[in-house]
Structures are given as structure tokens and as C-alpha cells.
Amino acid sequence: MGTFRYVLRDTNRLLFRHWGLSLLTLFTAVAVFFLVGSSALFMLNTRYLVARVESELLVQAYVKNEAQLQTVADKAHKIPGVASVRWVTTAEAMERLKTRLKGHAQALTILGENPLPPSLEIGLARAVLAPSVARELLAMPEVDDVIYAGGLADKLARVSRFATRFSMFVLVIAVTASALVLFNTIRISIYSRRDEIGVMLLVGATPTFVALPFVLQGMLLGMGGALGASLLIGGGYEALVRGVEATLPFVQLFRDPSMLLRLGLILLGGGITVGWISSWMAVERFIRRALRPM
């Protein structure tokens, strides 16, 4: 009834009477959530990139003769962490050597019989698994030799771990900073209305009633900020992806609409929550102070 109507009217008034202040808060919120969203996208891209590079890491198992390729391939499929198995016959190996030597391939024709052994190229789910998979392969009697870029696998595993940790760190920093900045902004904006809070309490308003418009305002601003940031990030990232596609077709950015939508929703939920908590904490303090008798 009266109360409800009043709270809505007052929230509206807080937002639009001091619209300059609201706009500033909104802008700050957008900037801050933009930072959070960008960090999240950065993290997604890092992980995506690492995953893609990992998927290109191969373990090469040289098999004694071509007839055994099938057996080894079957066994290899059962090793945990093996994502793909590809046959390389003796003929294919020769073809590859020729392309590798480029213009000087004619030199190889002197070789006569093909001396290259058949092999299996085994793709891995994660780079760290390379040594253990290699060990298992080497243990098979049909396998002659196992070669993999040990250094590269190691490097990749480290990069992966480092990238995950680093982007997590950036994200945590961004979230903390955003909550603090938003809290501060709302606190300063409530600070300029502390007299009002005092008067409301003096004429018999309950603390909840006094806090409600401020909290609603905080939630709306948080939501608005998150929404603005989501739209900006959505548009900006779309442009970035298109720009990269046009100029750097060999680079692939992370692009999963459902994931991006989820990111937007998380941002929105986070915005509302941060707006709510920070405005509540800010206004609650002033209320407590105003109620404390001298």
C-alpha cells in the first residue's frame, strides 16, 4: 500500500533526482564490470588456446612392421588420455620426408628401397600425459621406438598450468576491485544523503524502510552496470573476433555462444548481488550511526 508505493517512488527519486550522480555510478559500474568480463574472456581464451595447442601434440610410435599397426592402434586406444590414433604407413612416411626436403627431394630417389618404418601418431587429451602414454607404448612388444617432443610436452603442460593460474589470479583481482569500487561509489553517494537518512529515522521510519530505496537503487545500478558491460563486451568481442578473423585467419579465438550468454548472465547476477551487498553495507552503517543516541 502506502509503504510499497513510497519505496518505489523514493527509489525512483533517488535515481532520477540525483541523475548526475546515478549516471556517474552507472558509468563506474559499467567500467568495472567490463573489466571483470574482459578478464573472464581472457581466461576463456587462454584455456581455449592451450587446449587447442595440446590437441596438436603427438606421440609417435614406430611399429616393427605394417601388419602390426592394427594391433598397436587397438591397444593404444585403451590407454587413458589418448584422444586420437592415426596410421602412418611406410609410403606415407616417405612422402613426408620428400616434402620436408623441398626442392632437394630428388636426392632421395637414390635410396631405392624405402628404409622408413611405419608408425602411429597418437593425439593426447592433455600434454602432461605424454610421458606416461609413451611409457605404456614402449612396453608393447610390437613397438620399436617412441618419439615425442618431450620438451614441448613439458613446456605445454607448464604453460597450461601457468596460464590457468594467472588468468584465475587476474579474474580474482578484477572481481575484488569491482566489488570495492562499486561499494565505495555507492557509499559516497549515500554519504551525500546522510541527513535524509537521519530525518527519516527521526519521524518513525523503520531501518528496513529507510534502507530499501537505497538498496534497490544499488541493485538497479549494479544491474544496469552489468547489463551495459555485457552489451559492450558482447559487441566488442564480436568485433574483435571478426577483426581477428579478417586479418589473422590462422588465429582462432574462443567462440561459444552459449558460453558467452552464460558469461553475460553471471555478470548480471554478479552485478545485482554486488549492488545489493554493497549498498546494504553502506546504508546500514549510516542507519546504525543515525540511530545511536548521543
Binding site: 500500500m1 502506502g2 513510497y6 530525518v199 529515522l201 527521526l202 519521524v203 518513525g204 540511530l291
Partner: protein, 231 residues
């Protein structure tokens, strides 16, 4: 509501004795003038009643409320039963005169139609209906004071606390406001009024309590204004 103050002393921070061993009982429905020099403790006494200030020593009870221990919610309920005219008005500068008055009723959840009616009525009574759409910074000192008075009486309080309600009013308007306070008092509301207005105190004789340096030095049934503090 009646007011029962017993043995109250109030010390402010460095070492200012604003009130010293004050005993005062105001029965329901009484009209009391609080007089005394500036700084004698009138506002402090009224603030004890609105619970803006807690006594350093002593007890205060108003109606069935004991002001010593009180939850935030009970305090809100208690203050709804109170009408307060603050010495410095305490109007909200960004609300219109009318909104400043209606606000008190909104806060306690009165339905909109009734808010409108009662607000209009009281603005008429203090002669501010024509100025209802102006905001406090656009009003003259006396007009602001009248809005503060309207706000204090609009919720038909059981106890009215008025701190210097005629300081910015000319003699004629002051008398009109006095009539208003008396008529509210006649309907059963207890009224405590701190004032320096010699003319009103002497013209409308009521109980007078004089403070001097925080002590009660006079309590007359139908007293006059003249201060005998330090003369």
C-alpha cells in the same frame, strides 16, 4: 502520553553539564513551556524525549515506553506516536513542502488517499497551502518553520515536542501557530514547548518550567516568562 523523567543528568563529551539531576513529570494532556537562557539545556531535555540523546544518569519513560532499552523497531513505533518540531526544522531540501509533510504519513504506511487529505488539511491550517509546491530553500524562514510544524502535527501525535517553534515568525503568525498548538493540546495531546517568546508565554498562560545551567530552577502552574536565572 505522559512523560516521567527522574534524576536525569546529561554530560556531553569534554565536560559540559547540559542537564543536572532533573526531575519532571508531565501528565497526559498537559501543556508545558520550557524556558531558560540559551545553552540552559532545553533542547537537550527535549532530545532525551525523542531519544536522540541518552541520559548519563537517571530514568526516562514516556507513556508505556521505557527509553533506556529499546529495539530499533520499537523506537520507530515510539517515534510515530511523537510529533517533533526541530529547532533547525530538519526539512528535506529536495522535497516540496507538501512532500515533506506527506512523507511522515508515507513512512508509517497510511493509504495514499488519506495522506493527500490529511496533508492538505494541515497545510491549510498553517497557511502554507498556496506554497505547497515550493521546496525548503525556496521558502522564507517563517514558511519553513510552518512546514516543520505541519509535519509534526500531521500524524496526530500523542506527544508533541516543539523546540522554539516561533523563532522565525512575526507576532501575528506566532499567535496563529500558538492557537493551533493549543487546539491540538485540547484534543488530548501532551505538548512540550521550548521557547524564548516572552509575549506568547505571558499571553497564553500555562505551566512553565525554567532551566538554568542544566538545573530546574522554577516550575509554576500558570507561570510567566521572566527568567530569574542570573539577574
Amino acid at each position: 502520553m505522559d512523560v516521567r523523567i527522574s534524576g536525569v543528568t546529561k554530560l556531553y563529551e569534554p565536560d559540559i553539564r547540559a542537564l543536572e539531576d532533573v526531575y519532571l513529570t508531565v501528565p497526559k494532556g498537559e501543556f508545558l513551556y520550557l524556558v531558560g537562557q540559551t545553552g540552559s539545556g532545553k533542547t537537550t531535555l527535549l532530545r532525551l524525549i525523542t531519544r536522540e540523546v541518552m541520559p548519563t544518569k537517571g530514568q526516562i519513560a514516556v507513556g508505556e515506553y521505557n527509553l533506556r532499552k529499546m529495539s530499533a523497531f520499537d523506537l520507530a513505533l515510539y517515534r510515530r506516536d511523537l510529533g517533533v518540531i526541530f529547532q533547525d526544522f530538519k526539512l528535506l531540501p529536495h522535497l516540496t513542502a507538501m512532500e515533506n509533510v506527506a512523507f511522515v504519513l508515507d513512512v508509517i504506511g497510511v493509504p495514499p488517499a488519506e495522506v493527500k487529505e490529511r496533508t492538505g488539511e494541515v497545510l491549510e491550517r498553517v497557511g502554507m497551502w498556496r506554497r505547497r509546491f515550493l521546496r525548503p530553500p525556496q521558502l522564507s524562514g517563517g514558511e519553513q518553520q510552518r512546514i516543520a510544524i505541519a509535519r509534526a502535527v500531521v500524524n496526530a501525535p500523542s506527544l508533541l515536542v516543539a523546540d522554539e517553534p516561533t523563532g522565525n515568525l512575526d507576532t501575528h503568525t506566532a499567535e496563529e501557530i500558538m492557537q493551533l498548538l493549543l487546539s491540538i493540546n485540547a484534543s488530548g495531546t501532551t505538548v512540550l514547548m521550548a521557547t524564548h517568546n516572552q509575549f506568547l508565554v505571558d499571553a497564553y498562560r500555562q505551566r512553565v518550567l525554567e532551566l538554568h545551567m542544566g538545573r530546574v530552577v522554577r516550575d509554576e502552574k500558570r507561570g510567566r516568562y521572566e527568567l530569574d536565572g542570573d539577574f
